[in-house]
Amino acid sequence: GESVGLHLPTLSVQEGDNSIINCAYSNSASDYFIWYKQESGKGPQFIIDIRSNMDKRQGQRVTVLLNKTVKHLSLQIAATQPGDSAVYFCAERPYNTDKLIFGTGTRLQVFP
């Protein structure tokens, strides 16, 4: 079946370091991918998205990389800050559907 998964359930980084959160997806027909950040007690918050016709997209301190050959998605956070501590979800939208399929999430812990 369709699934989106993450390699690392918990990632701990030092403040100021760069963070890389990885995600594997199984549906090669997915045409849209998105990263959400979720803090405790809150709903998921949009970070960045990318369409399948791109392999890289940059935002403010964040970069998403898409490797369709190996069906891999990553989120890079530059100069990680304590406020970045949260659970991060990747999600995919299979082609010709209108729903997002979420992975199980990676918890990012930032230490001062």
Binding site: D49, A91, D98, K99, F102
Partner: protein, 113 residues
């Protein structure tokens, strides 16, 4: 409002009872989604609306779950004969269209005793 509003934020009920969860989307957003999130898991799709109609309800787990959006704005998720396994956070999200970025509410935490 400025964001997606969900009420109640917390609901504790007994097994077998009926519950309603409400979602007020961002004004002007035509697409509205319901997701369910269990502890330690990612959100799981339940249903989405484009306007007043349910465009895809394939994620509803069984016929105890039902959702409406009669005027194309506010939506209500209805759960009949609740079971302990229904305990989760129910998230609502809205967007300008089904291909646009979704904005999520804070969720309604349902606990079935």
């Amino acid at each position: 409002g400025a964001g997606v509003s969900q009420t109640p934020s917390n609901k504790v009920t007994e097994k077998g009872k009926y519950v309603e969860l409400r979602c007020d989307p961002i004004s002007g957003h035509t697409a509205l989604y319901w997701y369910r999130q269990s502890l330690g898991q990612g959100p799981e799709f339940l249903i989405y609306f484009q306007g007043t109609g349910a465009a895809d309800d394939s994620g509803l787990p069984n016929d105890r779950f039902f959702a409406v959006r009669p005027e194309g704005s506010v939506s209500t998720l209805k759960i009949q004969r609740t079971e302990r396994g229904d305990s989760a956070v129910y998230l609502c999200a809205s967007g300008r269209g089904i291909t646009e970025v979704l904005t999520f509410g804070a969720g309604s935490r349902l606990t079935v005793l």
